[in-house]
């Protein structure tokens, strides 16, 4: 399921018009549906900006010209030069699906992104009929935004007009936020999603961390967290219940025989799910390091599309914000997502005695089209058992 990216917002210029730039110097920040990336100078010289910050730009569009004759001569008046090298955007994603003219018209009139519509045409192309169909769906019906640009009423008396700037502010959704919104809604519409819950006693994992933390830090230079345990427990459970590690593609079921697990990371710009590759082959330290790296890059806006693609399962941790219980939404085309929550001390019954234990609720949302209740529950129980008794991971039961 390739994402198509053909435009973005040139969020910010790092240079001013007329600046002398060096080759490969970062020039601007480009925000697309998925990621924020940097554009660099293709040559050294004096730059002339052709696009204002905040403008929507097409991939491949020339956003600035660089007069390479002026390199190193800051004061020299820049004469138009034949050797001016255009700085252009290079597409972060490979080819985009061509659209028919009627589809393009409907996309611009309704605001429905053809990329979010499932196509019935040749090789999955979106047809006009698909766009009309998408318009009649409730999710898409909300898409045409009422713009405030042209007030319907003639200028009202100044006093009557609410000082809207104070009580409300209005800004355009970023492409990233729009994409998140679309995908969440699409997931809820397409999948037969439901959630099963369990709880897990964290005593054993906490004891292991307390016991080995110092040695772990000494050896690896990073801390042993909970995520490595949960990731390992998930891989273990995926192997036991392969249906969870499968996805629907049309009327086919695709079973994945690899274990690339997405770990949701909250960033200023929204939720991102970088994928940790081959979790079955990584050790605890390897997983901790991979998650740490991905989270840092996500927060720094340095993540690439490739980092976000190809996961077979997702773990999301609402617990870091204090959530006790929630129902996560599947990240399509994956078939399930595990939600972790806050660890709270609670009285529980163990061997007929009430004892206080650090407990966490677990939630597994799954696509019932593909996964049966028995499989989902078994999977979650496997995760619970592995966390409560990590020795199971070593022994493989």
């Amino acid at each position: 399921m390739g994402e198509s990216i053909n435009s973005g917002v040139l969020a910010k210029w790092h240079v001013k018009d007329g600046d002398i730039v060096k080759k490969d110097q970062p020039l601007f920040e480009l925000e697309t549906d998925k990621i924020t990336s940097e554009g660099t100078a293709e040559a050294a010289g004096k730059i002339s900006l052709k696009v204002a910050a905040g403008a929507e730009v097409k991939i491949g569009q020339v956003v600035a010209g660089i007069d390479s004759d002026a390199a190193g001569a800051a004061a020299a008046p820049a004469a138009p030069s034949a050797s001016a090298t255009p700085a252009s955007l290079s597409a972060p994603a490979s080819g985009t699906a061509p659209q028919s003219p009627a589809v393009r018209r409907l996309a611009s009139e309704t605001g429905i992104d053809p990329a979010s519509v499932s196509g019935s045409g040749k090789a999955g192309r979106v047809t006009k009929g698909d766009m009309i169909e998408a318009q009649s769906k409730p999710a898409a019906a909300a898409a045409p935004a009422v713009t405030s640009a042209t007030p319907a009423a003639p200028a009202a008396p100044a006093k009557a007009a609410a000082p809207s700037g104070e009580r409300q502010t209005r800004r355009k959704m970023s492409p990233l936020r729009q994409k998140i919104a679309q995908r969440l809604v699409a997931a809820q519409h397409e999948a037969a999603m439901l959630t099963t819950f369990n709880e897990v006693d964290m005593s054993a994992v906490m004891a292991l961390r307390a016991k080995y933390q110092d040695d772990f830090v000494k050896k690896n230079g990073l801390k042993l967290g909970f995520m490595s345990f949960f990731t390992k427990a998930v891989v273990h459970a995926l192997k036991e219940v392969p249906a969870i590690n499968a996805q629907l593609d049309g009327d086919h079921i695709v079973e994945n025989n690899y274990y690339d697990v997405g770990v949701a990371v909250s960033t200023e710009k929204g939720l991102m799910v970088p994928v940790i590759r081959n979790c079955d082959e990584l050790g605890m330290a390897g997983i901790e390091r991979a998650i740490g790296d991905a989270a840092k890059r996500a927060r720094d806006g340095k993540i690439t599309l490739a980092d976000l693609e190809g996961g077979v399962f997702t773990i999301t941790n609402g617990g870091i914000f204090g959530s006790m219980l929630s129902t996560p939404i599947i990240n399509p085309p994956q078939s399930a997502i595990l939600g972790l929550h806050a660890i709270n001390e609670r009285p529980v019954a163990v061997n007929g005695q009430v004892v206080i234990r650090p407990m966490m609720y677990l939630a597994l949302s799954y696509d019932h089209r593909l996964v049966d209740g028995k499989e989902a529950v078994t999977f979650l129980v496997k995760v619970k058992q592995a966390i409560e008794d990590p020795a199971r991971l070593v022994i493989g039961i």
């Binding site: 028919s100 003219p101 009627a102 006009k128 009929g129």
Partner: protein
Amino acid sequence: MSSQSFDLIVIGAGPGGYVCAFRAQQLGLKVALVDKRSTLGGTCLNVGCIPSKALLHSSEHVTFAKSHAAEHGLKLGSVEVDLGVMMKKKDAVVAKLVGGVGQLAKARKITIVTGAASFLSANTVAVKGEKETTELTAKNIVIATGSAPVELPFMKFDGTTVVSSDHAIAFDKVPAKLVVVGGGAIGLELGSVWARLGSDVTVVEFLPKIIATYDEDIVRNFTRLLTKQGLKIEVGAKVTGLKKAGKDTVLTAEREGKVLEFPADKVLVAVGRRPYTDGLGLEKAGVKLDEKKRVKVDAHLKTSTPGIWAIGDVVAGPMLAHKAEEDGAAVAEWIAGKAGHVNWDLVPAIVYTEPEVASVGLGEDAAKAKGLAINVGKFNFAANARAIAADAADGYVKIIADAKTDKILGAQILGHNAGELISEIVTHMEYGGSAEDLGRTIHAHPTMSEAIKEAGLAVSKSAIHAL
């Protein structure tokens, strides 16, 4: 008897068979291509589509010289036709094309075996040539034996008075009176040729209309145009036989109990074609036929015997060269383990008269009969600049689109070069295009193709050059 073994044997070197052989060779298979004729190309190239098109083209010049040259200021005097020269030109066209296919086959190192093929078993075929019989074996065999003209049991072909299309492309003189039995594409094309060359042509059709699969309005307008050209068209008439009246031959027919008589020098029987499996020995290979004597195949053109496939006219579906070609390419791909593809819902069909009639997909009448909600857009060539400048203002384009999704369901075109014009609609349809898509695609001006764009716009009542 010599014996050779191949990956694939294709029986029949018509457009289906030779394309299948060429594609299979491209995909790395060792291929034998068998045909009774010493030239490749089958009916289409030798005695069908191609010679008839050459004659249609030549005879159009005759019509122009006789009837239209003067309006262009050309003073030609009296126009005479040298039929021998015209036939030689036709033969040269055929020779060039069959020669070209032969050269391609040779360059591709395909083994050509000339003779009549007959199955000995599911993987062995005997080919009886002039001098010797060759035995060929292969794991996969494709039956591409095509079709032959249907004969009327009470009026068998004699090659002189009662003729098939095979003969009607090679008369040695222009018959004074030609009666064509059957108002389909073949009968109307050859009827047009001889009418232009001076024959008094009567077309006798059993059904209530000619080219019966087309929409009522298209047929009505087409019939009117043909009649204007001098063809006499008799529909709803059942041919009953041939009789002698003195030294003349008379074709008899019957309509609503009334006897009709058509004096004829020659009678062209063009009532259809039958799948050709004569002498193939299909029973020895266990290949079954359907109720209409066509080779029975599944959705992948596999016959009832594993390893034996059938394509083109010999299986169910329209008997058209381009459909056979697609069948052939797909089968070669399937045999080679690739993903072959034929969209049998989108086979265009063309009648190469003047004007031509072309269609693809569902007609308006068929869509209505199915109870579909449709919008129809029409645009007349009389409002198209290029058509007017080129004396081709007869006819119109009609587009049938789904009322809700605007998806193009079909199209019919009556007009000069309709066969060339239909292609872009087929392409749009192949990609699930809507009528609006046609209307929003740039068409060069001035061209007749603008009528397609306008008809696309007319579906939503927004044609620019029509009200």
